[in-house]
């Protein structure tokens, strides 16, 4: 099976790009010749022009690109929020490119977790209930729901904040609630759309720390969309989009380590360590 790793080796300045051949973990995501065309009145907008991409289980991939590059469209397709005009998308071995709206909703419920830039928590709803929400739709029993939600909040370091409403939490805490919510149905993949876009740099590092730990300790596959190179630098692999195509796809040899950076903090801002895109 062809993977993005075999496409080629890019010279990437600071990074030594190592594209390990396949035969590691199985692929969670396989995009094959994905096209997406929107019609805006008479005008056809080609958002994606043939994207082929594979993401393996346990990978931490950052998707980068300028606005209009097609990264958000890719994200929506990977997240089963949208379906491709042409091409095939296999998620966890299942072809999901031609599914109906309801079937895609079921896939999102069972296999995907979302983290958004604007947190997107339900207001006037406790952290615990926000985290319970996906399980409510999945029909999990109340006791189990409560147990798993509490556990997820503990995992993101929000023990004791269960009853707080979003407006009683800081941005970083809200984003952690959102991560707990994404985690709670035990997804195949967590998709994060500009998760640090609304956070200050220290909080960003904290959030990236959580992502890195989830990825390393629990082996959770992560796909993160960002336009900030220094955020992408926390990932193991960076995919860069331009004009609806993949421009670059490379491994990050020495990703930033959020945990270590946090240890060296109070002294804020010494972020310009590595990378580019």
């Amino acid at each position: 099976m062809q993977t993005a790793f075999e496409v080629g080796t890019f010279d990437n300045g600071a990074h030594k790009v190592v594209l390990t051949p396949a035969a590691e973990a199985p692929e969670v995501i396989r995009l094959e010749g994905i096209h997406k065309t929107y019609s805006m009145g008479d005008v056809e907008v080609h958002a994606l022009r043939g994207v082929t991409l594979g993401i393996r289980e346990g990978e931490f991939v950052a998707i980068m690109g300028a606005s209009g590059s097609g990264k958000s469209t890719t994200m929506n397709i990977i997240g089963c929020l949208d379906s491709p005009t042409r091409g095939h998308y296999e998620l966890d071995g299942e072809d999901v490119s031609g599914l109906s709206k309801d079937e895609r909703a079921d896939i999102r419920l069972r296999k995907l977790g979302f983290v958004f830039q604007g947190f997107n928590l339900l207001s006037r709803t406790s952290a615990l209930e926000n985290v319970e929400l996906p399980m409510l739709y999945a029909g999990v029993e109340p006791a189990e729901r409560h147990r798993r939600a509490t556990e997820a909040l503990h995992a993101v370091g929000l023990a004791g904040r269960e009853q707080n409403h979003p407006n009683q939490l800081s941005g970083g805490q809200q984003q952690r609630v959102a991560i707990a919510r994404a985690l709670v149905n035990d997804p195949k993949l967590i998709l994060a759309d500009e998760p640090t876009g609304a956070l200050d740099s220290r909080t960003s590092v904290e959030v990236m720390d959580i992502f890195q730990r989830l990825n390393r300790e629990r082996g959770i596959t992560l796909v993160l969309v960002t336009h900030e190179p220094d955020i992408a630098a926390y990932a193991d692999r960076v995919v860069v989009f331009k004009d609806g195509r993949i421009q670059k796809d490379y491994r990050v040899t020495a990703p930033r380590d959020a945990a270590e950076e946090l240890r060296n903090l109070p002294a804020v801002e010494d972020d310009e360590v590595e990378e580019e895109a």
């Binding site: 709206k101 909703a105 419920l109 069972r110 997107n120 207001s123 409510l136 999945a138 919510r181």
Partner: protein, 408 residues
Amino acid sequence: MNVLMIIRIAFRALARNKSRAALTMLGIIIGVSAVIVMVSIGQGASATVQSQIESMGTNLLFVSAGAQNVGGVRGGAGDSNTGSPLTVEDLEAVKREVPSVSLVSPVVNSRAQLVAGNQNWSTQVQGVSDQFPEIRKWAVQSGGFFTDADVRTAARVVVIGQTIADNLFPGQDAVGQTLRVSNMPFRVVGVMARKGQDPQGRDQDDAAFAPYTSVQKKLLGNTRVQVAYVSAVSQDATYTAQTQIAELLRQRHKLAPGAADDFTVRNMSDVAEAANQTNSTMTVLLGCIAGVSLLVGGIGIMNIMLVSVTERTREIGIRMAIGARSSAVRTQFLIESIVLSLTGGATGIVLGVVASVTVPLLLGWPTLVSTASIVGSVLFSAAVGIFFGYYPARKAAGLDPIEALRYE
């Protein structure tokens, strides 16, 4: 994904906006309680009239002199000035020749001053026959009613109502006493049982009954009969009796075919119907006005739900992104609106019933809470919830998750 889960989700969503939910329900609450109160006032009035009319006997017929207009039922006391008055002979013929008639009592009324000792009382003296108590299903409490012999001899005997007994003979037994009716001594032979008010609110116990012959000769000085009570052999026979009496009277009055009747025969259901017509028109009218407020309440729910869908676009996007199906979102919003309208309906029922119980205490109007109006209100508010909730719910379910998430 089951409905129970969605119900829970809907309740959580409503609980987040308690004050808005309460305000939305207000329209339905007012509408439902208004319907219940209005209908129960109307029903109470009808029931009172109905029971009073029924207590007069269901096989009772009225024969009165003079033609009556339709709807002139209330004026049915007869017209003694018409050219062909009802005569005692007419009524005797009715009793003799109409097989479906069992009892007949002419009624002649005279207003008179009753004096006993140093007490006096002005009242209506009704000249009736000895069959009167049986026709009107009105028992004599003490003593007895006068007899057929008293009627034939135009005896000066009188049977008085409780009100008169209380006023003329306070604290003593009236039977056997003598009182003066327009200065003529009459012997009290009996006292009627207490009857209470008639449908028009008049005190039926404020009356004295004497043989109609006595009233005609001694008090009125004529032989006219204004009206008569006739009893049919059974309730089923009332319509037959009505037709047969009419035929007989036309014959006796020598009316040409096609000429209008110069008398009127009515049965109790006509009277009841006439009395009820006013009441039910009123009930329907009040019910309609209340129904309009219920409709307005429903539209209020739709407005709030529509606003709510727009306001909660992002929430809908979140739910969809998380994995809620369109149907789950639609059901959630539909349940929210049904819960709002049903809770409003239930509150309205409680308020309506409380008000219906309070109205008789405050205003003295009888009320009757009807099960139909409660069941109707519940069904109507559920229907309002579904009907006015469906459009906003469909709008919510039709949202695209990507667009909805982007909504500011």
